[in-house]
């Protein structure tokens, strides 16, 4: 129960970060650009009239919200829109789930409890 509540609060914090990150037109524009192709922070800074430091700050906020991912390339930091990675994580976790479901079915069968009140599976 406590775990579930903590997870709920965690989700709320995540949502706050997400909506906060998206509540700025420059940041929304950065997300749109980096989902289409890769940009270094300095390349991004050239797209806007604001300072390099301001763009760096925007990118950091987006990164904390899980909307972009920064990875080093040489001396530069490459920024990528991360929805694809989150989708990939979702898919992999789905496979992990079926792995554990199968494993726990075997666990249950071994305990010899499957016929105690469980209806047979089709």
């Amino acid at each position: 129960m406590i775990v579930e509540k903590a997870t709920g609060a965690e989700h709320e914090k995540e949502a706050d970060r997400l909506f906060g990150a998206l509540a700025h037109s420059t940041r929304r524009d950065i997300v749109r650009r980096t989902m289409e192709s890769d940009y270094s922070v300095s390349e991004l800074a050239r797209c806007y009239t604001t300072s390099f430091a301001a763009i760096q700050k925007h990118v950091a906020l987006l990164e904390a919200a899980g909307l972009v991912i920064k990875s080093p390339r040489g001396r530069e930091q490459i920024v990528r829109g991360s929805t694809a990675r989150i989708e990939e994580a979702r898919e992999l976790l789905g496979r992990m789930e079926s792995l554990w479901r199968d494993r726990l079915d075997r666990f249950d069968q071994l305990l010899g409890t499957t016929n105690e009140g469980d209806k047979p599976c089709p």
Binding site: R85, E88, R90, G94, R101, D102, D105, R106, L111, T113
Partner: protein
């Protein structure tokens, strides 16, 4: 179906599976503590697991391998991170080289298991398993390494068994 709830967090690469069993907590613990029982459910029928070393104590660890249908072996290891006999266990699970030693170039994962007696029924035990990965690549590697193909095959086999059993 023992699984009662699954929570997946793609941002933190974590999954929590809650399950319920009609047995007392001591029997559930035994399923992990007895290597001969553990190897009967850890690997799928196509890739049965053999635990060559099984030291369930703080600082202890396991060495195991899974044998594929072609006789191919996938070696792994567990490191006991923390342990509360009868109620909780946290391990790191990784790949090993052919000698059974941890392969540092390969991914590992953290698994936290806890068991507790259900409040409503002393004959029912709740088991929670939380698995977490350091990176997407690590999770990919774990799923790619034979085990997953084995799982998919196993599910097919179980379906077949059930179909023939029901007929």
């Amino acid at each position: 179906m023992p699984v009662t709830q699954v929570e997946k967090d793609p941002n933190r690469l974590t999954m929590t599976v809650r399950s319920e069993f009609k047995a007392g907590p001591d029997r559930i613990w035994q399923m992990w503590a007895d290597p001969r029982l553990l190897e009967r459910w850890w690997g799928p029928p196509t890739h049965p697991a053999t635990f060559e070393q099984h030291d369930l104590s703080p600082g202890g660890g396991m060495k195991y391998f899974m044998t594929g249908p072609e006789g191919d072996k996938f070696r792994g290891w567990w490191r006991v991170i923390s342990l509360e006999p009868g109620s909780g266990l946290e391990i790191e699970d990784g790949f090993a080289d052919p000698d059974g030693n941890p392969d540092p170039s390969m991914a590992s994962m953290i698994m936290k298991m806890s068991i507790e007696q259900a409040e409503h029924d002393p004959g029912t035990t709740l088991m929670t398993i939380e698995t977490s990965f350091q990176s997407l690549e690590a999770m990919e590697q774990v799923l790619e390494m034979g085990a997953e193909e084995g799982m998919t095959l196993a599910q097919g086999q179980i379906d077949e068994m059930l179909a023939s059993g029901a007929a």
